[in-house]
Chain length 488, copies 2
């Protein structure tokens, strides 16, 4: 099916249906994306005020065969929010639907419009002495609709789950402009197909999420953090098991010696709490509701891990300042990576027990390439960033010609170990080819059938997830692939 | 579309594709259901040996337009496993696919074929010192495929979630006979639409789940149980909040004075641990991994609840025998209900904070009807069984003529409070009319579009969930409605 551009004449026809202020200037803010890899096209930027207005716009677009690109916080890293060419679409910004209309502390539920900024949702939850645990680097600008559409992950997945697990119900406008009113605040509801989870993670290709009932938790009263030096990834997994038996583990992050050396090499962090830089360590965080004695539990974990030969050294934070210091080690690594300049980055997940073998095998396959490898990330979730860097004194540009081949080696190893090439960032437009290559054929066929059934004209976020793969019209595209997903 | 019956000639044509022993005798075991409300029809009972054989059968059925009724443990309470009339379908039993081919203790993952019995999965997990927490009355016969197809709930949902939350990946045969190989053991995987959750809860209408990667947990080391007398449902909710702040709550069950009086009235339990029978109490269970001091925590909960005016009395189990005694109070209530004889039963869920108002309002609407009301259940999940009984000395049969009107009052009240008329048992064929009445129209339209896209001929579990509603050809049907969902 061919889409039509949103011409000035069509926009004029739509205008009487729009609220005052709905039409925004077509500005860079809506057409750029975080790494300046692509530039989007748009016939209009529309910021509707409520779900009924979203529905009117979608009905109009369906009738006129105009594409719609939902625009939330614009922080996605795989181009899901950026249509780079083709008939000019409507960019549909949720920014004016940013309220948190209701908090139900007794139910541990909060209702947010899709344009609510994550940090504001945190604040609203905290004002009721509750925690909304979804947390990631872009929380000051990421909005709930996009976070759900991409099933965002972040730093608290191990304990609280990803965005999908934190949502009881959604309201959404489907591609025919009908409104699915599913803002249920129910923990159990077996009444028909799970359209909530179908829309969550569909990256705006099956409809526009307009509001959500989100899951809150009691605020953890005590939090304890430690960095423990481990013998290797396998020992780290044994330590994870030991920690989980005690409960309350909220973060378990793997850090490599290479990552630590990048911190000192770039001068970003000069003082590290180690006598000598270890090859592997983990950052462990434990949260407890009350009387959790997190400090004692971390000391016990250290001692038992040491006695079991898993842990060789470690530091347990004694106060909030030390906690922040330990976290800064983990959180500064992406910036150090950027300064060193990755040749290839990745956002992979693996079955937990396959991680040590994967690392050994993939390292071996890349051994002849004279690279530095920084493998780090959310070990507790099986989610690693396996990133390749040039050796000292050489630049990433020198490796530009090998980039595709290096990425292919990683992709194939991930597939061989039953892993995923996109753990938390989604498909967007960047990974359409990888999905076609590594996705299950029966699943892909079913996805296409569902897309066609719900969106026969193909107006919703054209080209995202299922393709057709957009041409990469940015001059930066070739370098772009290398930047995928090193932001965490 | 009209389906064709599985005639002897068609079966003969299929036979060369079947493994030895695949064809079973057409016996009562496959055509009856737990409450003898309906009797199924079948042209053949087939028990394939592996996923490829399932796929061959489904491809044949799709080609010949023959219906398929997946048969798992046969324990469902809403008729999802029983097609009562129409062209004779293939009943597809998963009983010969009952293996647990792999346990990954380090990953907390277990892979089970769809025919694995829940109790056997518990055993396999326990042999690796792990817990598979899905637990319900029928676990000795319910099988994984059916438990996932219906998104089963049970007694551990508050802490561990329902079946959906306990599944990382599924393998399934789609209605065209293609095999979706999705046995992922990944905690994060954002690669396309969430077909796993679409098939989970679809009650066999979108495909046959043939295997699953299930989520395990460390075994709780300590468990503590108490029954606390509370001032009312509102106080019970405040106490729930107090308990959840301390973490580890694995059960929070509401018990009404009416339920307790049924226990003594029927003679099922003569000794209850109360000086006088309270109007409301809750059974609280706390599980902890190690060093959890569950006894102390329950004592503290009692004391603080008492000081806050929420709790008036209580008993904390001091040993395993006392724990069992407290649980027997909760677990004997369904049997007491059966002996008293319910006029109308229900399996509803509500937003937690709406429960006190719902109970007051619904009780008031029924006040003139001279009934006894027993409202009880998984308060922590917002999941109640709100059941109506005749007054002493009268029988349920005397109320048969009022049954539909009484049910309608409950349904309308549930809808008014944004609740669900089917919290954990699903739609099956029993609740198709309720789904049409109370389901969101946009959601229902999308469900029909998805069904048509994936199963254009309509072979998969014809009539379930979306209808057309099967005629109720059982002489017991009129009484049947009253029995819905009082099994928990």
């Amino acid at each position: 099916m061919t889409l039509a551009p949103l011409t000035p004449a069509l926009l004029a026809a739509l205008r009487p249906e729009l609220s005052e202020g709905c039409e925004r200037d077509i500005s860079d803010a809506y057409l750029s994306e975080p790494r300046d890899l692509w530039r989007g096209v748009a016939g209009a930027i529309l910021a509707p005020r409520d779900v009924e207005e979203v529905a009117r716009i979608v009905r109009f677009a369906a009738r006129e065969r105009v594409g719609i690109v939902p625009w939330s916080g614009g922080t996605g890293l795989v181009g899901g929010q950026t249509l780079t060419e083709g008939p000019a679409p409507i960019v549909l910004s949720l920014e004016r639907m940013s309220k948190v209309p209701a908090v139900y502390p007794r139910e541990n539920v909060l209702v947010a419009e899709a344009g609510a900024i994550l940090a504001d949702v945190h604040t609203a939850a905290a004002e009721s002495d509750r925690l909304f645990p979804l947390s990631l680097a872009s929380e000051g600008s990421a909005r709930i609709g996009g976070l759900l559409a991409t099933n965002a992950g972040g730093v608290n997945v191990l304990r609280y789950g990803n965005a999908r697990d934190l949502c009881f119900g959604i309201e959404a406008v489907l591609p025919d402009g009908s409104i699915m009113r599913g803002l249920k605040r129910l923990r159990k509801d077996n009444t028909g197909y799970d359209l909530r989870n179908l829309l969550i993670g569909a990256e705006g290709t099956l409809g526009v999420i307009t509001a959500a009932a989100l899951r809150l938790f009691p605020q953890p009263v005590e939090t304890g953090t430690a960095i423990l030096t481990v013998a290797g990834p396998s020992a780290a997994l044994d330590l994870l098991e030991m920690a989980e038996r005690r409960g309350g583990v909220s973060a378990f992050e793997l850090i490599s010696g290479q990552g630590l050396r990048f911190l000192t090499e770039t001068g970003l962090l000069s003082r590290l709490p180690f006598d000598e830089i270890p090859e592997w360590c983990v950052l462990v965080e434990i949260g407890a509701e009350a009387g959790g004695m997190v400090g004692e539990r971390l000391e016990t974990l250290f001692t038992e891990g040491y006695e079991a030969g898993l842990v060789t050294d470690g530091v347990v934070a004694q106060n909030a300042a030390q906690r922040a210091e330990l976290w800064s080690i983990r959180e500064t690594i992406p910036e150090a990576n950027r300064r060193v300049g990755a040749i290839v980055s990745s956002d992979i997940s693996l079955p937990l027990s396959a991680i040590p073998d994967f690392l050994e095998s993939c390292d071996a396959k890349l051994a002849t390439a004279d690279l530095r490898i920084n493998a780090f990330g959310h070990l507790g979730d099986g989610n690693l960033h396996y990133n390749l860097f040039p050796p000292p004194g050489r630049s990433r540009e020198e490796f530009a010609g090998q980039r595709a081949a290096l990425r292919h080696i990683i992709d194939e190893e991930v597939a061989a170990y039953d892993g995923s090439f996109s753990a938390e960032h989604g498909i967007g437009r960047l990974k359409v080819t990888q999905l076609q290559r590594y996705g299950d054929p029966a699943k892909l066929a079913a996805m296409r059938a569902i897309k066609k059934a719900l969106d026969p004209v193909g107006i919703m976020n054209p080209g995202a997830v299922l393709g057709p793969e957009v041409r990469r019209n940015s001059p930066n595209f070739e370098t772009g692939a290398s930047l995928t997903a090193d932001a965490d």
